[in-house]
C-alpha cells in the first residue's frame, strides 16, 4: 500500500465544508453563505414558495388541460411583485448594487414573460412591449411630483423636464399620457416664460393638433381586439400624422415637430431621438415597432433588435442582460436559463419560470414559430431538484423545500423528501412531529420509523422514559420498545401517566412487553383502588398469557403479599394459577421466608375455601 504523506481529506454537509490541511493538525472550516441568510431573502423565499404552491394547485385543477394564459401571466406577475418588493427593501436600506441585480432580473423576467408566457406567437407583440418599457423606463413618478411642486408657474428647467417626459411617453407609444402633459408646456398668456417662437395662441393651436393626434393613436388589446382592425386603423392614423407633417402644422415649434416626425416613423425623427441621447436601445426598439412595424409578431423581434443593437454600436460587446433577451427572442429557453445561472448562481429564477412554462402547456396553434418544448419537463425537474435541495439543506427553512419536491412525479418525490428529512435533526417536539407528519404524508414508512426511533433514543438518553416509549411505539420498533418498557418496569417505579396508558391501549402493540406493561398498569390501578378481586383476576390473566418477565416476579410477589390480610376471595382456578406461579415460576427459594409465610397463608386459605364451597355444592345437589 502506498503510504500517503498527506491526504487532503474533507467532508461537506449542507453549507459547511471542513478540510484537513497538509502537514498540519489544523482543520480548515468553510461555512458557506446560504442565500437565504441575506437580507430580506427569507421573506422572498417564503413568498415565492406560496406562489409556487398556487401554481401547482392551478395545474392540478386544470389538468389535463393547460393552465389558462391569463392565470399563468397573473402568477408570473406575482413572482415579479416579489422580486420588486425585494428591490424596494434593498433600496430602502441603501444597498443599491444588490437592488440593481434584482431589478435587472425583474427586467429580464418581464421580457421572458412576454415571449414565453403571455404573448401569442401569432399576434402582435407590441402591447406587451409598451407595458414592458413603461414599467422599466417611465420617469413619471420622479418628475411629476417635482412639477406639482412648482405649479402653477413652471420654471424653464421644469418645462424641459416635462418635455423629456413627453418624449419618453411618445417613444414608448403611450401617446395619451404624453397628451396629458402637453398643457404643462403651454405657458399661459402674459407669462414671462412664454418663448418667443410664436404667440402662445399659435402654440396653443399646435398643441391642440398634437393632442388630437396623440389621443387618436390606435391601441390594440390582444385579448379583445381584432388585429386586422388594428392594422387598418393604425394605417389611417399614420396617414393623418404624415398629412399633418406635410401641412407643416407644427412648423416653428421644434419639440412638436420632432414628436410628429417620430409619430410618422421617419428616419429624421428616429435619428434625432438617438442623437439627443434620450433613450436606451430597448426603448428605441419599442419606438421602432410602435411607429413602423406595429403588427409584428414576437418571432420577428430578433431581426429588428439586432439592427438596433448594431446601430447603437453595442453589437460586439453585449451585456449579459442583452444576451438573455436575444436568447428569449429566439425562444431558446435553455440558453436563457443558462445565462441567468451564469450571472446569478441560484436556481430560483430557472425553477419558478420553467414551472410556469410547464403549467401553461404548449400553445395550441403555432404557425411561424417552432417552439421546442420537449426540453421543458426535464429542465423543470432538474431545477426543482436543485432548488429544493438548496432550501431543504438550510436548517431554518427546510420545511419550505417540501412543496417543491411535492411538485415532482413519483417516485422521485418520495426519494427526495425521504433523503432530505433523514438529515434533519429535530430540535423540538414540534419539529419532530412535523417530520413525522411529512413522512406519513408521503408514505415514507422507513424514514418515519427512523425518525421516531431516533427521537425515542434521544428521549431515552435524557431519562424521559415515557416519552421515549411513545416514540418507540410510533416507530413500530419492538426491540426498542421492549428495551424501554424493561427500563420502566425494572428501574422505575412503573408509574405510567394516564394519558400514556390510554395511548398504550389504543396503539397496536408492537411488543409483548408492551401488552404486559399495559396489563400490569391495569393491575396496579385496581390494587390502588382496592378492587382486589378484579386485580387478582387481571394478574391471573397475565400469568396465563405467560407475559411476565422474570425480573419482575419479585414485584408481583410483593403485591400478592399485601393481599394476605385483605380477606380476598379468589375465583375459580385463580388459586391454582397463583400457586403454580409461586412454586413453579418463581420458586420458593427466591422468596423471603416471612413473605412466603403470608403468601402461603393466603393461598392455602383460599384453597380451603374452594374445597369447602365445592363440597357444599355437592352436598346440596345431593
Amino acid at each position: 500500500m502506498v503510504l500517503k504523506s498527506h491526504n487532503f481529506a474533507f467532508d461537506f454537509s449542507g453549507s459547511q465544508v471542513v478540510v484537513t490541511k497538509p502537514n498540519s493538525s489544523e482543520l480548515g472550516q468553510l461555512a458557506l453563505k446560504h442565500f437565504a441568510d441575506e437580507p430580506y431573502m427569507r421573506n422572498f423565499i417564503v413568498s415565492s414558495a406560496e406562489v409556487f404552491v398556487l401554481a401547482q394547485k392551478q395545474f392540478k385543477s386544470c389538468y389535463p388541460d393547460p393552465v389558462p394564459q391569463t392565470t399563468i401571466t397573473a402568477l408570473s406577475q406575482m413572482y415579479r411583485g416579489i422580486i420588486l418588493e425585494l428591490v424596494q427593501n434593498l433600496k430602502d436600506v441603501g444597498d443599491l448594487e444588490t437592488a440593481a441585480l434584482y431589478s435587472n432580473l425583474d427586467f429580464v423576467w418581464n421580457f421572458c414573460e412576454i415571449i414565453f408566457l403571455s404573448s401569442n406567437p401569432d399576434l402582435p407583440v407590441l402591447p406587451y412591449l409598451i407595458d414592458w418599457v413603461r414599467i422599466n423606463f417611465d420617469q413619471s413618478s420622479k418628475i411629476l411630483p417635482e412639477v406639482q411642486q412648482e405649479l402653477p408657474d413652471l420654471g424653464q428647467q421644469c418645462i424641459d423636464k416635462v418635455w423629456k417626459l413627453i418624449y419618453t411617453h411618445v417613444f414608448h407609444g403611450r401617446t395619451r399620457e404624453a397628451a396629458k402633459l402637453l398643457p404643462f408646456v403651454n405657458p399661459r398668456p402674459g407669462n414671462s416664460h412664454s418663448n418667443g417662437v410664436g404667440t402662445s395662441a399659435s402654440l396653443k393651436n399646435k398643441i391642440e393638433f398634437m393632442t388630437e393626434l396623440l389621443e387618436k393613436k390606435p391601441r390594440y388589446n390582444p385579448r379583445t381586439g381584432s388585429f386586422t382592425d388594428f392594422e387598418s386603423s393604425w394605417a389611417s392614423w399614420r396617414e393623418e400624422c404624415v398629412n399633418r407633417l406635410e401641412q407643416r402644422v407644427f412648423y416653428g415649434n421644434e419639440q412638436l415637430t420632432f414628436i410628429c416626425n417620430v409619430l410618422c416613423g421617419n428616419d429624421e425623427g428616429f435619428s434625432e431621438a438617438r442623437t439627443k441621447n434620450l433613450l436606451t436601445w430597448y426603448e428605441y426598439l419599442v419606438m421602432l415597432i410602435n411607429y413602423r412595424f406595429p403588427i409584428i409578431r414576437p418571432s420577428a423581434l430578433k431581426g429588428y433588435a439586432r439592427k438596433v443593437v448594431s446601430d447603437f454600436g453595442l453589437g460586439d460587446s453585449l451585456e449579459p442582460r442583452d444576451i438573455i433577451l436575444f436568447h428569449a427572442m429566439e425562444y431558446d429557453i435553455v440558453n436563457v436559463l443558462k445565462e441567468i445561472q451564469a450571472v446569478w448562481n441560484n436556481p430560483w429564477y430557472s425553477t419558478h419560470f420553467v414551472d410556469l412554462i410547464y403549467a401553461g402547456g404548449k400553445f395550441s396553434e403555432v404557425t411561424d414559430v417552432r417552439i421546442d418544448y420537449s426540453s421543458v419537463p426535464p429542465l423543470r425537474t432538474h431545477f426543482i431538484i436543485d432548488y429544493g435541495t438548496t432550501i431543504m439543506e438550510h436548517k431554518p427553512i427546510w420545511q419550505i423545500g417540501v412543496p417543491y419536491f411535492e411538485a415532482l412525479e413519483e417516485p422521485l418525490r418520495k426519494h427526495l423528501i425521504g433523503k432530505c428529512i433523514e438529515r434533519i435533526n429535530p430540535k423540538t417536539e414540534m419539529e419532530a412531529q412535523k417530520l413525522v407528519q411529512i413522512a406519513g404524508q408521503f408514505n415514507l414508512s422507513s424514514e418515519l420509523s427512523g425518525i421516531c426511533r431516533k427521537v425515542a433514543v434521544d428521549k431515552l438518553k435524557c431519562g424521559q422514559m415515557q416519552n421515549a416509549l411513545l416514540w418507540a411505539i410510533k416507530a413500530g420498533d419492538s426491540s426498542l420498545t421492549t428495551h424501554i418498557v424493561d427500563q420502566i418496569l425494572f428501574e422505575g417505579d412503573c408509574k405510567i401517566e394516564a394519558s400514556l396508558l390510554e395511548s398504550l391501549r389504543n396503539a397496536i402493540p408492537c411488543s409483548d412487553r408492551l401488552v404486559f406493561l399495559s396489563g400490569f398498569c391495569d393491575f396496579r390501578k385496581l390494587m390502588d383502588k382496592k378492587d382486589y378481586a378484579n386485580a387478582v383476576g387481571k394478574l391471573c390473566q397475565l400469568i396465563k398469557e405467560d407475559m411476565i418477565p422474570k425480573r419482575i416476579n419479585h414485584k408481583i410477589i410483593q403485591h400478592l403479599v399485601t393481599l394476605h390480610d385483605k380477606n380476598v376471595k379468589f375465583r375459580a382456578n385463580e388459586t391454582t394459577i397463583l400457586m403454580e406461579f409461586v412454586h413453579l415460576r418463581v420458586g420458593i427459594n427466591k422468596i423471603e421466608p416471612a413473605d412466603f409465610t403470608r403468601l402461603n397463608m393466603l393461598l392455602v386459605c383460599n384453597r380451603a375455601n374452594e374445597i369447602l364451597t365445592m363440597f357444599n355444592n355437592k352436598t346440596f345437589k345431593q
Binding site: M1, V2, N7, F8, A9, F10, D11, F12, S13, G14, S15, Q16, V17, V18, V19, T20, K21, P22, N23, S25, E26, L27, G28, Q29, L30, A31, L32, K33, H34, F35, E97, A100, L101, T280, E319, P320, R321, E339, A342, V343, N345, N346, H382, I385, D386, T389, T390, E393, H394, P411, H415, K419, E422, R423, N425, S446, R453, V457, K461, L480
Partner: protein
C-alpha cells in the same frame, strides 16, 4: 460568500480523515497520532468544541465514519494496526482534558480479521440493517453485521470477498431498497499498469454471496476514493472516482429479473460520463450532497471543487474552495469530456442596469 476559520484540533500528528454526522452538527477526526476526536458545533458561535478524545488504535487511524443516527451515536474507525473498531457514545461521565463531559465513547467491538492495514470502513445503507464493510491492503473486503441493533458488541463476519489486489477504498450504493441488489464499489491502489482499479460487486440473494459484476477498464491509475451518488429513482447509478483526476462513471444495470423478482443484474453497462482534470493533480476524496445534485472533490492542488451536472448530464465546476480558506472564486470551466455545448463564460461579467455607470459587484453566492 463564505466564512473561513481554522479549527485547532490538538491532534499530535497528521489528520487522515474528517467526517460529519448525518446532521452536520457533529464531526469526527482521526489521525496518525492514533486518536479519534469527536466535535460538536456550537451553532451560535459557529465554532467546534471537542467533546471526546481517545486513543482508538495502536497505529495511524485512516478513516472514521458515522452510522445512521437511529442506531444512536455510533462511529467506526479503521487503522494501520490491522483492525477496525466500532465505538458508541454512552451517557456517563467522561473527561476531555481537564473538563468533565456528560458522555463518553466506548469500544463495542474490534474487528481483527485483516492481515494488513485496514484502509477503509463504511456503514451500509440503513435498509440493510446494521452492517459495515471494511477493505484492506490484504486484498479483501469484509462485511460484518450486528444482528441485534440493541447490542453493538456482537458483530459477525458475514462475507469475505477476495478482491486479490490491495484495496484502498469502498463505497456502498445507497440505492432505494427493493429496486436493486446491494452493490459495492472497491478502489484499488496498486500501481500495476492497465489493470482496472475499480471493481463493482453485487450481492446475489439466491446464492447469498457477493459477485464481481464489473471492473472499470477506463480507470487504470490508483484510486484514492469512491462514492456513489444517492439514487433518485434513476435507472442508472453514478459513481464518483478520485484517482489521478476526477471521474464520474455511470453504471446502467441490464435488467435480468430472476425468480426472486429482485432485479438482479449480472451485468452493468458502464460509461465514463465526465473526466475533470481541473485539479491538475491527484484527486484524493469525493463526496456527494444529500440529493446527488453536487459532487465535491479535493485534490493535491489544495482545493475543494464543487461540481454540478446540468439536465443533459454535463458536469461543470461551480465553486472552488481553497484549502487554506483564503479565497473562493468561481471559474466556470468546461469540465465534461462529453460536453457538447460550451459553457457560458460570463462568470465575471457584470449585470448592469440600464446603462448605469456604477459597476456592480459579481453577486455569485453559493446557493
Amino acid at each position: 460568500m463564505f466564512v473561513a476559520r481554522g479549527v485547532k484540533t490538538d491532534h499530535k500528528d497528521l489528520i487522515h480523515d474528517v467526517a460529519f454526522d448525518y446532521y452536520g452538527t457533529r464531526m469526527a477526526t482521526c489521525s496518525s497520532d492514533q486518536t479519534v476526536r469527536v466535535w460538536e458545533l456550537d451553532a451560535q458561535a459557529g465554532n467546534w468544541n471537542c467533546m471526546a478524545n481517545w486513543k482508538a488504535h495502536s497505529g495511524s487511524v485512516w478513516k472514521v465514519t458515522w452510522a445512521n443516527p437511529e442506531y444512536g451515536q455510533v462511529i467506526a474507525t479503521c487503522s494501520f494496526d490491522r483492525t477496525a473498531a466500532v465505538w458508541e457514545e454512552v451517557v456517563g461521565e467522561g473527561s476531555i482534558g481537564d473538563r468533565v463531559s456528560a458522555t463518553h465513547w466506548v469500544k463495542r467491538t474490534t474487528l481483527v480479521d485483516s492481515r494488513t492495514s485496514v484502509t477503509d470502513v463504511k456503514f451500509a445503507p440503513r435498509y440493510l440493517g446494521l452492517v459495515l464493510a471494511t477493505c484492506s491492503a490484504d486484498g479483501f473486503v469484509r462485511i460484518y453485521e450486528a444482528p441485534d441493533v440493541m447490542n453493538l458488541t456482537q458483530w459477525s463476519l458475514q462475507y469475505e470477498i477476495p478482491v486479490k489486489l490491495s484495496c484502498s477504498c469502498i463505497a456502498w450504493n445507497p440505492t432505494y431498497p427493493r429496486h436493486f441488489a446491494p452493490m459495492i464499489a472497491v478502489g484499488i491502489d496498486e500501481s500495476t499498469p492497465e489493470v482496472p482499479k475499480v471493481m463493482i460487486y453485487e450481492f446475489n440473494e439466491n446464492l447469498r454471496r457477493w459477485n464481481r459484476i464489473e471492473s472499470l477498464k477506463d480507470i487504470t491509475d490508483p484510486v484514492n476514493d469512491l462514492s456513489f451518488a444517492p439514487n433518485l429513482g434513476r435507472s442508472h447509478h453514478l459513481l464518483g472516482v478520485a484517482t489521478k483526476d476526477l471521474k464520474v462513471v455511470s453504471l446502467e444495470p441490464t435488467m435480468v429479473e430472476d425468480d426472486n423478482q429482485v432485479p438482479s443484474s449480472n451485468k452493468v453497462t458502464t460509461r465514463t460520463i465526465a473526466q475533470c482534470s481541473d485539479h491538475n493533480s491527484t484527486v484524493w476524496r469525493v463526496a456527494w450532497n444529500v440529493t446527488g445534485t453536487i459532487l465535491a472533490s479535493s485534490g493535491d492542488d489544495g482545493c475543494v471543487r464543487l461540481w454540478k451536472g446540468n439536465y443533459m448530464g454535463n458536469w461543470r465546476c461551480v465553486s472552488i474552495l481553497r484549502g487554506d480558506g483564503t479565497q473562493a472564486t468561481v471559474e466556470p470551466t468546461s469540465a465534461a469530456a462529453s460536453a457538447t455545448s460550451p459553457v457560458g463564460s460570463f462568470g465575471n461579467s457584470r449585470f448592469m442596469k440600464l446603462g448605469a455607470a456604477a459597476a456592480l459587484k459579481q453577486d455569485v453566492v453559493w446557493h
